[in-house]
Amino acid sequence: MKKSMIILISFLLLFTRCNKESATGGPSSTGAGGSTARFTIIGNFLYVVDNTSLKAFDISNTGAAPVLKSTTNVGINIETIFPYQDKLFIGSSFAMHIFSLTDPQRPVKLAQADYIVRMSCDPVVAKDSTAYATLNSSGPCGGGGSQLVVYDIKDITKPLLKQTLPLNGPHGLGISDSALYVCDGTFGLNVYNIRNTYAPQLLRTIQGETFYDVIPYGNILICQVATGIVLYDISTRHQPVFLSRILN
């Protein structure tokens, strides 16, 4: 073999810098994705984020090409999109952006909360009046301390930073009832009690896998790990029980 080294073009993609996703609900004609997605389907619309903008596609005409309805400039280093109720939470390296979908064709920006830690990879999830984001400052994402940040979004136009907790190498995260699952990369999967929503309490860390993202789906927690997928039973939300691995 030549000493030359081949790297696929994909390595250059911003997409590969950090992956995160999380879930949106139970069974329906639309499913659930993770917190690191750049795609999300809500009703008859597919929302896509690229590096700088949010695009809304009408997909109501099943089988026809998605029709671009609007392109909204969001900022820079846009990484993730997460739907919750009639809102979109968009994670970027610098901020959490919240958009209203009152008019699904034309998302309207409601708020932007700038992060103190910059150059990080930041998926966001939300439930009721709280939004959670992980800020990853390791590796290509930048320097500084990685964090879990918690925002009060009772007033959706004015997110208030309520809590900052240390993490090691965070990626995606997901919520199921009073449990918050945070992928901390090679350090494991953190399970938090969020009964007190603004003060997550770390209950346990599941180790032995490199966790990238989660989808809580009913009583199953679907985890994207370095080797494929691992499933946990979360009938007891705070105590995931290993079910299976999907590798081959």
Partner: protein, 175 residues
């Protein structure tokens, strides 16, 4: 539409000065076979190598195999899930599903795939260049501060699908 028009050659910075200089630089690997890049096809189940994003609907779980396609998994029995098949899509990164149709990227295009019959997977629709980031024609930087040199891509030679590190003279592009 010719894929090469999506190239972002403007991202190249020409190095100042004209002294030929031998150095390690990235050299493009091209393809002109855009037909195979755009092919959406069914494949046999395969091991997961480059773990990608996940999506679920009903009893099915979809997992992206980064850059290659989508694993389709039956998780009706979550204690013993089974891979059902694989959908090939070049540079695959994303997956979402609605009404039995899979939405993903194929290179920089958004594609809609009917995979209700995994033996008869077919492209239903396509919207070009929804992911311009995926068509960027320059090599990756190891980090934000390291300067890398590369041979400027020549769209006449095709689309860049990879990069080789070689010692060359006169690498004109850098980032």
């Amino acid at each position: 539409m010719i894929l090469s028009v999506v190239l972002f050659l403007s991202a190249c910075n020409r190095t100042p000065g004209s002294e030929p200089e031998s150095r390690n630089a990235w050299v493009p690997i091209y393809t002109t076979n855009t037909g195979s890049i755009k092919a959406i096809t069914a494949g046999a189940t395969r091991p997961t190598i480059k773990t990608g994003k996940i999506y679920t609907l009903g009893n099915l779980i979809y997992q992206v195999e980064q850059d290659s396609g989508i694993h389709v998994i039956n998780a009706a029995n979550p204690s013993a899930p089974q891979k059902l098949g694989f959908i090939r899509s070049f540079l695959c990164k994303e997956v979402s599903v609605k009404n039995g149709l899979i939405y993903t990227n194929n290179f920089s295009d958004l594609v809609v795939i009917n995979a209700t019959d995994l033996n008869n997977v077919r492209e239903v629709a396509r919207t070009a260049d929804v992911f311009p980031d995926l068509a960027l024609q320059y090599p990756p930087k190891p980090n934000a501060t390291t300067m890398i040199y590369f041979e400027c891509p020549d769209p006449k030679k095709g689309i860049v699908i990879g990069w080789e590190l070689k010692t060359i003279n006169n690498a004109k592009c850098r980032r």
